[in-house]
């Protein structure tokens, strides 16, 4: 008996592979690999397409077999679908001349490709990029030193023109200020009217006088601004495209002139950095397909921030009640089921609820109580960052509640008893012991909620996101934080630029860049939260309990 059992141990028994579990281990490994691969591929595609957009690519000049010329940036080579060799997609720019930014050229028609040093790329305020050659300057007021090279002369004239925009900008700010004053005046009168003050009351008369003064100032400033702008627009340069068609471009319309074919690598890096900075800090141009993303970045971050401020305390308090104070019973069970189900409701439903309840309901009441004089123009009764944050907050509250409850219930009973046995009240126990110990788990819920909120677009579209917001929700005007304002959002930006843009092909790079930024922002914010959580964990580690 004894020897037979030890023999059994010595000879390795061949079990069926199902009993051994090897296929199961392979399946788990394969599932993980597949998931990782999909994520990595997604990120690589986004980064490959996003990071290259800002680089100053060379301008190629194609001499065609028929003797004509085409210039532009090579986008891609591909097979001609019907056979007959390859073709190349060129970004030819010059939308004002050709009406299309892109052009396919069959490889067979190309006689020669060159990269001329004097090829110029201009980023412009409108009509997209211009690719071509400088012909001559046509200056009025601005003078350039004689005997300079044409390109140098152009750059110095352009710099001078840009400098001259500063007084115009000051005027434009003055115009804006006056128009705000006039609006305030109008609202004061509307308020008085609303209160039933007669039109010949002294207050009213004063306001009307002030209004006409403001109006006169406004007209005068605006006229001056227009005059100066018109004068500055007389400073132009004439450019020719590859085929020799000319175009006169006002210097102030040029955002960034460069000659990519002569740029050294450091110069290109510098150019890249300046474009990157523009992306992060400037406003969008050309219906969002060019320029920066600052308002969208700001809107996204502020939205997540506001959402957290609103949903986090609400969720944590609700969870504390459910876990610590509520008596267990069918009611609490029902609440638990409801909370878990709330997390699964499609976000658009939250959006519609936000629109109906917050925007029209609460917003409408706020307007009729506090902003009655502005009606029928709504103040809070229309989409805005406050309502969007509240809607997102509602959407993420269940996540916070579930995570917080789990964190609270994972605090050992012994710790609570120890605290009670030392004469601590329930609140003292909660505040001094249970909450600190649960804080890493609560943080996890917070991170999950934040990630979910950052990725939502659907509910925002009907509660206050816009394609282009004229001003940020926080600025230098009293009361500095404007929660009623509409805002821009990176997620919506992706949708809008990628699918609602009049020039989808030209907007494609922006979609990748925006996606990259959105992912980056979510990454930064959750890394920050994870760092905080690891500090909390270190502080309140459970040790050997």
């Amino acid at each position: 008996m004894h020897s037979s059992s030890s023999n059994k141990l010595k000879t390795k028994v061949k079990r069926s592979i199902w009993a051994d579990g090897d296929p199961f281990i392979w399946a788990t490994g394969a599932a993980l690999t597949f998931t990782l691969c999909m994520t990595v591929i997604l990120m690589l595609v986004v980064m490959y397409n996003g990071l290259g957009v800002l680089w100053p690519h060379q301008i190629s000049l194609f001499e065609m077999e028929d003797g004509s010329f085409v210039a532009g940036k090579i986008m891609q080579w591909s097979e001609i679908p019907d056979g007959g060799g390859e073709r190349v997609q060129l970004k030819v720019g010059n939308r004002d001349l050709y009406s299309l930014d892109f052009r396919w050229v069959p490889e067979n028609d190309i006689a020669e490709i060159t990269f001329p040093n004097d090829a110029i790329a201009l980023e412009r305020r409108e009509f997209g990029n211009f690719y071509g050659f400088l012909q001559e300057l046509s200056l009025n007021d601005i003078t350039v030193p004689a005997d300079t090279e044409p390109w140098e002369a152009f750059l110095s004239a352009w710099n001078a023109a840009v400098e001259r925009t500063q007084p115009i900008q000051a005027l434009s700010q003055e115009v804006q200020r006056l128009s705000r004053e006039m609006e305030r005046n109008r609202l004061s009168r509307a308020r008085l009217e609303h209160q039933g003050v007669e039109a010949d009351a002294p207050k009213m008369v004063n306001l009307i006088e002030e209004q006409s003064e403001l109006r006169a100032q406004f007209d005068e400033t605006l006229a001056e601004q227009n005059r100066k702008t018109a004068a500055l627009r007389q400073e132009t340069a004439i450019f020719a495209d590859a085929g020799g068609r000319t175009r006169e471009i006002a210097l102030v319309d040029v955002v960034r002139p460069y000659r990519p074919n002569t740029m050294s690598i450091p110069a290109k890096v510098g150019f890249y950095a300046s474009k990157l900075w523009e992306l992060l800090s400037a406003e969008p141009r050309e219906s969002n397909t060019e320029g920066g993303l600052f308002p969208a970045i700001f809107g996204t971050v502020m939205l997540i921030f506001l959402m957290s401020i609103l949903s986090f305390p609400l969720g944590v308090l609700a969870a504390i009640y459910l876990q610590e104070y509520a008596k267990e019973g069918s009611m609490v069970k029902a609440v638990h089921i409801a909370v878990n189900n709330l997390a699964g409701i499609p976000s658009i439903v939250y959006g519609i609820f936000g629109l109906g309840f917050f925007v029209y309901g609460v917003g409408g009441i706020v307007d009729s109580l506090f902003f009655a004089e502005r009606l029928p123009t709504p103040t809070f009764g229309t989409g805005g960052i406050l309502w969007a944050s509240l809607t997102l907050g509602l959407l993420t509250v269940p996540v916070v509640i579930v995570a917080t409850e789990e964190a609270l219930s994972s605090v050992p009973k012994g710790i609570r008893e120890a605290s009670y046995a030392l004469g601590a009240t329930r609140l003292q126990t909660l505040r001094r012991t249970v909450l600190p110990m649960a804080s890493p788990g609560i943080m996890t819920g917070f991170i999950l909620a934040m990630a979910r909120a950052a990725g939502e677009v659907a509910p925002l579209m009907i509660t206050g996101v816009v394609k282009l917001a004229p001003s940020l929700p926080i600025d230098g005007q009293f009361p500095f934080i404007h929660l009623d304002r509409k805002f821009m959002h990176l997620g919506f930006h992706i949708y809008d630029v990628g699918f609602q843009s009049p020039n989808v092909e030209a907007a494609k790079p922006m979609v990748y860049v925006t996606t990259m930024l959105l992912v980056l922002i979510v990454l930064i914010m959750s890394s920050l939260a994870i760092y905080l959580r690891s500090r909390m964990k270190k502080r309140y580690q459970m040790g050997s309990m």
Binding site: L422, R432, Q541
Partner: protein, 260 residues
């Protein structure tokens, strides 16, 4: 129902009279009438589930935390009725401290663990906290081992040290009675011996009630012993007497290891 008060105790600090306790209707303690002598160590012994921990937890109303527990009868600390809904439970627990089976230090520094009870009572004078911390740790025989790392995490201590820290924490608020619920059951023999020595020292100042599974321990540390069986106090008396000449057959059977 028999009522047993087997010893007459002079000037007891805690008395229970006809104490019955029910867990959601199921009775766990039957008519317990028992006197706990002042400045002595009283051991409660009995097989698992006999109600000794439940009885212990009645003395500082820890059973309040369990839903569905109802109590009738009377528990008196000095002459104050404890089973009174208007009683200030927080104050009671400051008078009747407790040490648990599993050591449960807070995930905080050693110092903060000891002064927890003082802080929640609103004391924030650093010097006073420091003095009390040192006194309590000294009483708990832990001072020499931890005096250089008071501001390190209490979770870095060994199991025995953690349990002595819990004792220090309980006596820092100067209770009259210290309840100990199987304080050594998770410790090795050496740590157990240290805690037993500690109990012997502490009885000079405090009344101690200890629940234990370990008969030798009860015999070693206690002055009085109560034997509970199925929620009934079978016998209560001087430890010497219970362990040598018990009055009841059940007690003898349990002590000699015939059951339980």
């Amino acid at each position: 129902m028999t009522q047993l008060v087997t010893s007459v105790i002079e000037d007891p600090i805690v008395r229970t009279r006809n104490l019955n306790l029910y867990y959601s209707g199921a009775q766990a303690l039957f008519n317990i009438s028992m006197d706990f002598p002042r400045n002595q160590v009283t051991a409660l012994i009995g097989p698992s589930g006999c109600g000794k921990s439940t009885l212990l937890r009645c003395l500082n109303r820890m059973n309040d935390l369990i839903i569905g527990v109802t109590v009738d009868g009377s528990i008196l600390l000095e002459d104050i009725e404890l089973d009174d809904p208007d009683l200030d439970v927080v104050e009671l627990r400051r008078q009747v401290g407790m040490v648990f089976q599993k050591s449960n230090p807070f995930p905080n520094t050693i110092f903060e663990n000891v002064v927890y009870g003082l802080r929640i009572a609103g004391m924030n004078n650093r010097e006073e906290l420091r003095v009390t911390c040192e006194r309590s740790l000294q009483q708990a025989g832990l001072w020499d081992e931890v005096k250089d790392r008071l501001h390190e995490s209490a979770l870095g201590l060994s199991g025995g040290q953690q349990q002595r820290l819990c004792i220090a924490r309980a006596i820092a608020i100067n209770p009259q009675v210290v309840l100990m619920d199987e304080p050594c059951s998770a410790l090795d023999p050496r740590s157990t011996a240290r805690i037993e020595d500690l109990i012997a020292e502490l009885r000079e100042q405090y009344t101690i009630v200890i629940v234990t599974h370990n008969m030798q321990q009860a015999a070693r540390v206690s002055d009085y012993t109560g034997f509970l069986y199925e929620g009934v106090l079978i016998e209560f008396g001087l430890t010497k007497k219970i362990f040598t000449k018990p009055n009841e057959k059940q007690t003898e059977d349990y002590i000699t290891g015939r059951f339980g």
